[in-house]
């Protein structure tokens, strides 16, 4: 168990080293070593410390956040198709960000507004699903999906009535790309803290995954636990979306991939998701900026191109 986590950790470090070493400008290993020692030319320092390092950390943080949020949502909703965006969080964030852009705000306020939008979406879905009666996963899922469709309509409406000169900025935001990340720290810190917070709950999550009745019978207080997962997953997704826009696929595929290989034990799956999600996005982003350099690809293309065959292979093998 710990061995597989250790292995994933090594992979994560290797992927980061790979990301730092590779770019559209070639930096030799000797130069790389010089920069690590705090020397090296100004250009090499800029390339590595100001461009590659923050971007790599942002990619790792975002990927990790999305994968953990996806794993939590799948347990919460007991639905294998759940991903971090299924309840309309990215839609809320997008509406927040686009509103700030319409108002001509700077990037900092746009990020803040995106985060506020994501949190509003969370509260809205939770409040509506709570309603007058029961709070079942299927009710939560249905509410979320319909609210997400509502956000989608609002986004389309905003794009349709926005002055054309503001459109490109909005489209960049909607596409989602690590290169637009301003600072990696929120993603990295939230990821680290949330994994530490969630680990003590992992055993209860295992029980919950078998169904709420069984969990209640085994002495788990189901309602507060579900509530905690929901808030935490929302917070993770909101941070990820605020950092790099809505990057699809990672949150859906990474937890499933890990379950196929490691089994469905949340004590392993959650930290493994953080490591594997981060690794996948770091690798994908490195390829996105180097494959056809100087042309830059959107990272979502690469995550899907890497993830789809890997996932299908694992699924095929698993029977």
């Amino acid at each position: 168990m710990t061995r597989s986590l250790l292995g994933l950790g090594m992979l994560a470090l290797a992927s980061m080293a790979f990301a730092l070493a590779l770019g559209s400008v070639t930096v030799s290993p000797a130069d790389l070593w010089q920069v690590i020692q705090g020397e090296g030319s100004t250009l090499h320092r800029t390339l590595l410390l100001d461009l590659r390092l923050p971007r790599t950390l942002a990619a790792f943080g975002t990927g990790g956040l999305l994968a953990v949020a996806g794993a939590l949502m799948q347990v919460l909703l007991r639905n294998p198709l759940a991903d971090p965006y299924v309840l309309g969080l990215s839609g809320g964030a997008a509406v927040g960000a686009l509103l700030a852009m319409l108002g001509g705000m700077g990037t900092l306020i746009i990020s803040g507004s995106a985060f506020a939008g994501a949190m509003l979406a969370t509260v809205l879905v939770f409040g509506l699903a709570h309603g007058t009666g029961s709070w079942t996963p299927s009710r939560l899922l249905l509410t979320g999906v319909v609210v997400a469709a509502g956000w989608g309509a609002v986004i389309t409406l905003m794009l349709a009535i926005t002055p054309s000169y503001k459109l490109p900025g909005m489209l960049y935001w909607l596409m989602g790309d690590v290169s637009y990340a301003r600072s990696p720290w929120p993603a990295v810190v939230v990821l680290a803290v949330s994994v530490v917070v969630i680990m003590p709950l992992a055993r209860n999550l295992n029980v919950l995954a078998r169904g709420p009745m069984q969990a209640a019978a085994l002495g788990v207080s189901v309602r507060p636990l579900e509530w905690t997962i929901y808030v935490l997953a929302s917070l993770l997704t909101a941070t990820a979306v605020t950092t790099a826009g809505s990057i699809g696929f990672v949150g859906l595929i990474v937890p499933h991939m890990l379950r196929l290989v490691l089994g469905n034990d949340q004590r392993i799956i959650l930290p493994a998701s953080a490591l594997a999600g981060g690794t996948l996005l770091v690798l994908a982003d490195t390829l996105a900026r180097t494959v056809i350099a100087p042309e830059q690809l959107p990272v979502g293309v690469i995550t899907a191109l890497l993830g789809v065959p890997t996932f299908l292979y694992l699924l095929h093998r698993s029977r």
């Binding site: 559209s24 400008v25 390339l47 960049y172 900026r289």
Partner: protein
Amino acid sequence: MVSRRLNSRLALGLLIATLAQLILAGEMQRCAVDDTRKELCLSAPAQRIITLSPGATELMFAAGAGDRVMAVVNYSDYPPAALELPLIGSHTRVDMEALMALGPDLVVTWVTGNPPAQVELLDELGVPTFAIEPRTFAGVSSVIERLAVLAGTEQEGFAEAERFRIGIASLTEQYLSVEPIPVFYQVWEKPLMTVNNEHLIGKVLKLCGGVNVFGDMQRLIPRISAEVVLQADPDAILTGSVDGVSDDQLDEWKKYAGLTAVEKNNLFFVPASPISRPTPRLLDAIQTVCEKLENARERL
């Protein structure tokens, strides 16, 4: 009247150029204000320039500093020399590493075309940036002059700006008294989009005596329905295409034989890149549009 005004402008231009020479002699800073009203001062003429839009590339060449442009983005296809320059990605996704590796001392950005986060990153890394996006004829000549100041090529740049000003003035005078005709300019076919009078294309139409049937609409590039085009019944329909060669973009209208523009065979194609980029090539675009509208008038 017009020529006297031009003379005074020329004199002013020369005065500025002379002042600029003095500035150079005193090794003082060269300063210019960009289209976001941010002032940029360089201690020496820019020698290593990177342009982040096809329009900026064209304007930099027009300013006489084409030989200082080290790298450009995709679709920088004019002048032909720009095609030889190395690429550093597209205007939506700039390869920041490649850009930094070239060590530019001036990066000309596009106000609404480049991702704001990437431009901010350049500012943080201490790369001098100058954001441009002319939206008027006067803005085109002004931006050429400002780029020339930054590059220290005032002589060529100011002359080119003046040539553009004179060109606009003489075309304006030439088409001042032509008969106004209602015109529809199709920016895009599906969805159907046009321009209002604030758009540079709208200004070109107006100069040529075309009355833009959607000129009063509020948005710069309004999305409209085919119905309102039929209702407006323009005398001519124009659209941009590669090199102005006829293609199928206007075929949809041929279904409506009752449209005056269709009946009189007034469906026209103009070269897309000169009319959609705010550069000196606008003069060619205006010439073409005005000639097409003249044809249209004859056929009415």
